[in-house]
């Protein structure tokens, strides 16, 4: 669905993207995970056709580069910076973006209602955007990417500021899109999101991938050992282990255990191990 080859982009002295290559298959959710300034948005914007790469190739669905309008027809973008008309209602915004993508008549109406349902804002559709909360605007921003039902979705931190309940509902919906065969490129700071949603995750720093694999494989190869914590009457024992279950069994044989906790390594650890720093301060 998407092939990206050797992408480079420099802003003045900053090398924002330095040789990114990846493929996204149809029906796959691909995560781009990295700290601030890693180059995620720059990458997304190039794939969206908004920025021209200094070098490298982007091919969407075998149709060619996103600099062609016909290729952009296949892409839906939810930019990181909200980009909406504050003076229009939620519905008017979506109608307008739908029209730009060539929808009209009943198809347009149906798609607009569908996306409003998708982002759980049907009840606020007739309110002007300036009366929306930050999280609601973020949801309309996401809806605007979906309105023309594109096969490739580029979601740049679509859940920033969205409350946990709505966020969970959005996750469900994004997973539903995936099951309908949509391809999603999803950038985020939130490890949990990436772990929950993404089939594969690219960990990106200084414009390049440090690792790119499925969440399980990343943890397996870069997460290090699991941490087993055991409380006894008189002491607390913490042991790193590749096989936490075996370790638990062994510890139980050594003496009575009051409580037991197993911390599997997560993407946070993966990142820490890969870069030597925490993802977020």
């Amino acid at each position: 669905m998407l092939q990206v080859e050797n992408l480079y982009k420099r802003f003045g002295t900053i090398q924002a993207v330095a040789g990114l290559s990846f493929n996204a298959r149809q029906g796959e959710i691909l995560g781009l995970l990295g700290p601030n300034g890693a180059g995620k948005s720059t990458c997304i914007n190039m794939v969206a056709g908004l920025l021209h790469a200094d070098s490298g190739q982007i091919n969407v669905g075998g149709l060619g580069s996103p600099s062609l309008p016909a290729v952009r027809q296949k892409i839906g973008v939810a930019p990181q910076a909200l980009a909406l008309y504050e003076g229009l209602t939620g519905e008017e915004n979506l109608r307008f973006f739908g029209k730009l993508a060539g929808l009209s008549g009943k198809v347009l109406r149906d798609r607009v209602s569908w996306t409003l349902e998708f982002v759980l804002l049907m009840d606020r559709k007739d309110d002007r955007l300036k009366t929306y909360s930050g999280g609601m605007k973020r949801r309309i921003n996401l809806a605007a990417a979906l309105v023309h039902d594109p096969p490739l979705l580029l979601l740049d931190e679509p859940t920033v500021g969205v409350d946990p309940q709505s966020r969970n509902a959005l996750f469900e919906n994004v997973l539903a899109l995936k099951s309908q065969g949509r391809t999603v490129i999803y950038t985020t700071h939130y490890m949990e999101e990436a772990e929950k949603l993404c089939d594969r995750v690219g960990i990106i720093d200084h414009g390049a991938f440090l690792a790119f694999d499925s969440v399980d494989k990343l943890i397996e190869s870069h997460g290090g050992k699991s941490m087993v914590t055991v409380m006894r009457h008189d002491s607390q024992v913490q042991i790193e282990s590749d096989d936490p279950i075996a370790e638990c069994v062994r510890l139980q044989q050594e003496g009575e255990i009051l409580s037991l906790r197993v911390d599997r390594p997560d993407l946070e650890r993966v990142f820490l191990n890969l870069t030597g720093r925490a993802m977020r301060d």
């Binding site: 802003f11 290729v71 930019p79 980009a83 730009l100 060539g102």
Partner: protein
């Protein structure tokens, strides 16, 4: 793809209408300007009003000479003397309101004021000037009474009962023949003919500024990026923006002139010329709108710089003070302002009575300004992907 351009234009105009300040600047303020200055100019010109006439004395008798004297002394009429041909020509070209011809035999007919062939006077006046026509007739009759009748009255009034006194009946001592001369009007029919084109300029400037600022607003809020990632070309985006500004300017001009026509009798001599003028003005100011949008990176900068440029254009172009109030050198200087060409194009169609070939100059200058500024605007436009 025309649909996309229309969608962008409609969206833009909707946003403008939603913005109360924008709507005020582009519609309410200009209308207030039209009415306010119309009222001011109106009281000025009405106070110093007397009818000017050209008088032809074909009789050249002693009686006709004393009649002329009477008219001149009255002060109600500005009189000049001329030949019949000159007089007719002057009235036709609206140099003078009316002519009065004292026909041959006027003096000889004097004794027959009560008979069939009374002394005859011919008045030539534009049929549209009904009120002035009546006034002139009244004056002529009044002076004719004074001239011819006073001696007779003095002679016979003692014999008549009071209610049959000749001056109290509808009787006129002279025959007045009125010839209708259709004038080619060359002056404004009222002060509103002047204040409306000027006020409309303010609406046009308001439109121009609003859309220029909204274009920058699209860049700063990121919606321009949204438009760029939509499956449409940059040409479509700019065409949509231009169409929004063009349509609003045109509709605004038409609506304000319609109000002027309904409420203030601003009747264009050539509605077709006026329509073309409004088209040309819209083209010019779409170009200027594009130019304004590149004058800064933020709404505030563009608003400040944009209004500075527009106000300067208005100031020297006669948008604030009518050009005929300006000293001569300033009038020639004002030709560099698009505003002066816009006003000229409107006035030419409304009251200056320009022929189509005379209109071609302001029209082509306006279209040229539009294309030039549009080209500069597009060249200088910074799309979000350029750094």
């Amino acid at each position: 793809m025309r649909k996309v351009v229309t969608a962008i234009a409609v969206n833009d105009m909707r946003l403008l209408l939603r913005d109360k300040g924008g709507a005020f600047v582009t519609f309410v303020f200009p209308l207030a300007y039209c009415i306010f200055f119309g009222l001011i100019f109106a009281t000025q010109s009405m106070s110093s009003r007397s009818i000017d006439m050209v008088l032809v004395d074909e009789d050249q008798s002693q009686q006709s000479a004393s009649f002329v004297q009477l008219l001149k002394k009255s002060g109600a009429i500005e009189l000049t003397m001329a030949s019949r041909e000159q007089a007719i020509d002057q009235v036709r070209r609206a140099k003078t309101a009316a002519y009065v011809i004292i026909t041959k035999g006027f003096g000889q007919a004097l004794p027959r004021v009560l008979g069939e062939d009374r002394p005859k006077i011919v008045i030539g006046i534009d049929p549209a000037r009904a009120a002035e026509s009546e006034m002139v007739k009244g004056l002529i009759t009044k002076f004719a009474f004074e001239l011819f009748y006073t001696p007779i009255i003095l002679r016979i009034s003692g014999d008549l009962p009071n209610d049959q006194h000749p001056t109290k009946t509808n009787f006129s001592p002279i025959e007045i023949e009125t010839t209708e001369i259709v004038q080619t009007r060359t002056g404004p029919a009222s002060s509103y003919d002047i204040s409306f084109p000027q006020g409309i300029i303010w609406g046009v400037l308001g439109c121009c500024a609003s859309f220029g600022i909204s274009l920058v607003n699209e860049r700063t809020t990121g919606t321009l990026s949204r438009l760029l990632v939509a499956p449409i070309s940059r040409t479509h985006i700019l065409a949509g923006k231009a169409l929004a500004c063009f349509t609003s300017t045109l509709v605004l001009g038409m609506v304000l002139f319609f109000v002027g026509w309904l409420a203030f009798s601003v009747i264009p001599q050539s509605p077709i010329h006026l329509a073309i003028s409004l088209l040309a003005i819209s083209i010019a100011f779409v170009g200027i709108m594009m130019f304004i949008s590149i004058l800064g990176k933020t709404e505030r900068a563009v608003s400040g710089m944009g209004w500075a440029v527009l106000l300067a254009m208005a100031m020297i172009g006669g948008g604030m003070v009518p050009r005929f109030f300006m000293p001569h050198w300033m009038q020639s200087l004002s030709a560099i302002s698009p505003v002066s060409w816009a006003i000229k194009a409107m006035e030419g169609a409304v009251w200056r009575g320009f022929s189509t070939s005379e209109m071609l100059l302001p029209w082509s200058v306006l279209v040229g300004i539009g294309l030039l500024f549009f080209a500069i605007g597009i060249r200088g436009f910074s799309w979000p992907d350029k750094g």
